[in-house]
């Protein structure tokens, strides 16, 4: 046995000799095919497969104004996109412009120096608010690496016809809200189509129902200086308050997936769907007859604030690949993406809130969402702010909240899981 194994390692060792050939190395720069003549094609990679057609339409505007440049949106499967992009950016055959995730998920690309910093190249960025640029900033050097494209705000989306039919209005207080839920439940409807098995939706729902309990940005400030923790009363309370609505969740909610929840809502078996504003486009497509409305959860008794907070965050940005053979053309495209023209087209075609300042969505619901968010904004704490190290608060929260909602742990334990993980790397600012 031992002889065999020693021999095995010897054999592996011999093969290791050939290894130098395969270490990651910079590929030889190929002469850009577009350098000489003919139109050049800029590849824009992204993770929104369902938006491919809309992006093509948006880029048509740019192509018309810039003869000689073709822009192609190349979407990949969202789950594997990060890996594909990391490897793709190391290669001149990769993207010229890439859709980048925000906050912590952006950092590996920055660390690998795969992206071109944009602060001094794209003047338009100076018009963007600082919290929006936070989504595209490198943690280590504080430079901006992408032009943010969308702001996602989080709400309770409701079915107007069902609300009217059962005499329910968007609630102004927490008690009004639970009374409305009771009324809908009595009518044999599922009040809230919640997502449980797709764990990434859990922290989103926790923010929607719990933001007022801990108090949004004020609490976040204290957390960043180390004066408050996930394990402190207000944040733990946000979990408890959220779960107190569980009697209004679907029957056997433990097994309800994201797609199930969406289907419950679009087939009008559920009256409300707590989620991101991006759902409007999804719902509209799968059931054009739905009349949609949005509201945010009013503060419960004992909440840290009397305002009805609206959580939101930066969804992502567009950055320029350092290895792109067409860097100046890519930079032009990204500059255009910071312009109101792009912002307006983006908002109209994709039914989302553009991150470009001054762009007002045509869609009245989107406009309502944006106005509400701008009036009483609240951070998506676990995703946006404790994501600069490993493990990220977002990963920890997804795990902890799954354990919490399936009844395997209490709110304190769930909070402790997040705090303990984050404590390993988080340094409070002085």
């Amino acid at each position: 046995m031992s002889r065999t194994r020693r021999g095995l390692f010897a054999a592996i060792g011999a093969l290791a000799m050939t290894l130098s050939a395969c270490a990651p190395s910079a590929p030889e720069d190929q002469a850009g095919p577009g350098a000489a003549s003919g139109p050049i094609t800029l590849d824009v990679w992204g993770w929104r497969q369902e938006d491919a057609a809309a992006y093509q339409k948006i880029f048509k505007i740019y192509e018309d104004a810039h003869p000689g440049v073709k822009v192609k949106y190349v979407p990949y499967k969202a789950d594997e996109y990060d890996t594909i992009l990391r490897t793709g950016l190391s290669d001149a055959n990769g993207p010229d412009v890439a859709q980048l995730r925000s906050y912590g998920l952006l950092q590996p690309l920055v660390a690998a120096k795969s992206l071109v910093p944009l602060d001094d190249q794209v003047k338009e960025l100076s018009g963007f608010p600082e919290p929006v640029l936070d989504g595209a900033r490198g943690e280590s050097d504080k430079r901006v690496y992408g032009v943010p494209f969308a702001i996602q705000s989080l709400h309770v989306i409701y079915n107007k016809k069902l609300f009217a039919k059962h005499g329910v209005n968007p609630p102004k207080t927490w008690d009004e809200m639970t009374a409305a839920f009771d009324k809908l439940a009595a009518a044999d409807l599922t009040p809230l189509a919640t997502t449980i098995t797709d764990t990434w939706m859990l922290p989103i729902q926790q923010e929607i129902f719990g933001a007022t309990s801990y108090g949004g940005y004020d609490y976040l400030e204290k957390m960043r200086t180390g004066a408050a923790k996930f394990t402190d009363r207000p944040w733990v309370e946000s979990l408890t308050k959220w779960k107190s609505t569980s009697k209004y969740w679907p029957r056997q909610f433990e097994g309800v997936s994201y797609v199930d929840a969406q289907a419950l809502f679009t087939s009008e078996q559920a009256a409300m769907f707590p989620g991101g504003i991006w759902e409007l486009a999804v719902f509209g497509k799968s059931n054009p007859d739905l009349e949609l409305g949005i509201f945010n959860v009013p503060p419960p008794e004992g909440a840290a604030t009397a305002k009805t907070l609206v959580p939101g965050y930066v969804d992502g940005s567009f950055g320029v690949a350092a290895k792109s053979p067409h860097q100046s053309q890519a930079m032009d495209l990204v500059r255009w993406m910071a312009s109101p023209e792009f912002g307006q087209a983006f908002s109209t075609e994709l039914r989302q809130i553009s991150a470009v300042p001054g762009v007002t969505p045509q869609d009245p619901l989107l406009a309502q969402a944006l106005a509400a968010y701008q009036a009483d904004p609240s951070p998506y704490v676990t995703y946006a702010y404790f994501s600069g190290g490993t493990p990220t608060a977002w990963d920890l929260a997804s795990e902890a909240l799954s354990t919490f909602v399936t009844g395997r742990s209490g709110a304190e334990d769930a909070a402790k899981h997040i705090q303990q993980g984050v404590d390993q790397w988080f340094k409070p600012t002085q």
Binding site: L15, L19, C22, L89, Q107, A111, A112, Q252, G255, R408
Partner: protein, 315 residues
């Protein structure tokens, strides 16, 4: 590395190899060796070397020695997830052995004794194997959904409301369901192997036992089953390796976090999360984790194989 001298074989069959020249040995072995070496072993060894560095994205930043190993083993919550995932892999292996392989044997015996329609049944039972585990996972998660799933719908229609559970959402039922769905997909494998092995057993043996007055049951256990041991050995080792490579199906059924409260978290998912959802140093950490998984699986498989072969000889 491979010596040219060919020794006369001392094999059981009394087969004496002639002198086979180095040229022939190279001609036969080199193509496979080069292919396998280049595209399987070299990447593995490369991964080993990756695990020794601290990475910044896709750039190796500094030599870290065993730092990544230490990081993976001590960092919360990985330090608790690794043993939990290992335990789930073992449970999955035990469950698969108990269900997939015994049902597979049962079907093989039934088919062997009732050959009418054998080919049809073989094809039908093996059908799920052809489908991508991702699709299998997707189909079953739809079937098992508590809201729109036909399974709970049928249970409720039959008045068995208490039986209608949130199958994939309940930490108690998630892993058993995973084992069953996996068995549903792969049952054709053990069935075919057992069926082939049964066909290879001379019928006279069992008849002799029957004439000695042994019951059918005894005849099976004392005569036929021992002769199936080589097949059992092959299936056990393959099942073990398959169980520890489990990824696609559990990913499709429970997502990368391993289902409700991590009840279906297995080593394959843990590796995936570290490698593809990890932070800046994900290449270093995931490579270290992968090497550790490899060492465990490799060690146990070798031991298992030896143990089974020894038993086989004794029987």
């Amino acid at each position: 590395m491979i010596a040219a001298k060919v020794r006369p074989a001392r094999s059981r069959g009394g087969y004496r190899a002639g002198r086979v020249s180095l040229g022939w040995i190279a001609t036969f072995c080199l193509p496979a060796l080069v292919l396998y070496g280049m595209f399987v072993v070299v990447p593995l060894v490369t991964a080993f070397s990756y695990g020794l560095f601290r990475w910044e994205g896709i750039r190796p930043a500094e030599f870290a020695g065993l730092g990544n190993y230490q990081e993976v083993l001590t960092r919360y919550p990985l330090n608790e997830e690794i043993p939990a995932a290992l335990w789930h892999n073992l449970l999955f292996f035990a469950g698969t052995m108990a269900i997939q392989n015994t049902v597979g044997l049962g079907l093989a015996v039934l088919l062997y004794r009732n050959p009418r329609g054998k080919r049809l049944f073989q094809t039908v039972f093996s059908l799920p194997y052809l489908i991508s585990p991702l699709i299998v996972g997707y189909i079953w998660s739809l079937l098992l959904s508590p809201t729109f799933g036909p399974i709970n719908f049928l249970l409720r229609t039959a008045g068995l409301d208490a039986w209608a559970r949130p199958w994939l959402g309940d930490p108690d039922t998630a892993l058993p369901v995973l084992i069953l769905v996996n068995a549903w997909q792969w049952i054709g494998g053990p069935m075919l192997i057992f069926l082939a092995a049964l066909g290879g057993i001379p019928r006279e043996l069992e008849e002799a036992a029957a004439m000695d007055g042994a019951s059918k049951f005894r005849a099976f256990w004392s005569v036929r089953f021992p002769l199936l041991m080589p097949a059992v050995g092959v299936i056990t080792v393959l099942t073990f390796i398959g169980c520890f490579n489990l990824f696609d199906l559990v990913y499709a059924l429970g997502g990368s976090d391993g289902g409700p409260s991590g009840a279906m978290d297995v080593l394959g998912l843990l590796y995936y999360r570290t490698a593809f959802e990890g932070g800046t140093n994900s290449i270093g950490e995931s490579s270290a984790l992968a090497i550790m998984i490899f060492v465990v699986v490799f060690g146990v498989s070798v031991a298992l194989e030896r143990f089974l072969r020894r038993r086989e000889v004794r029987m």
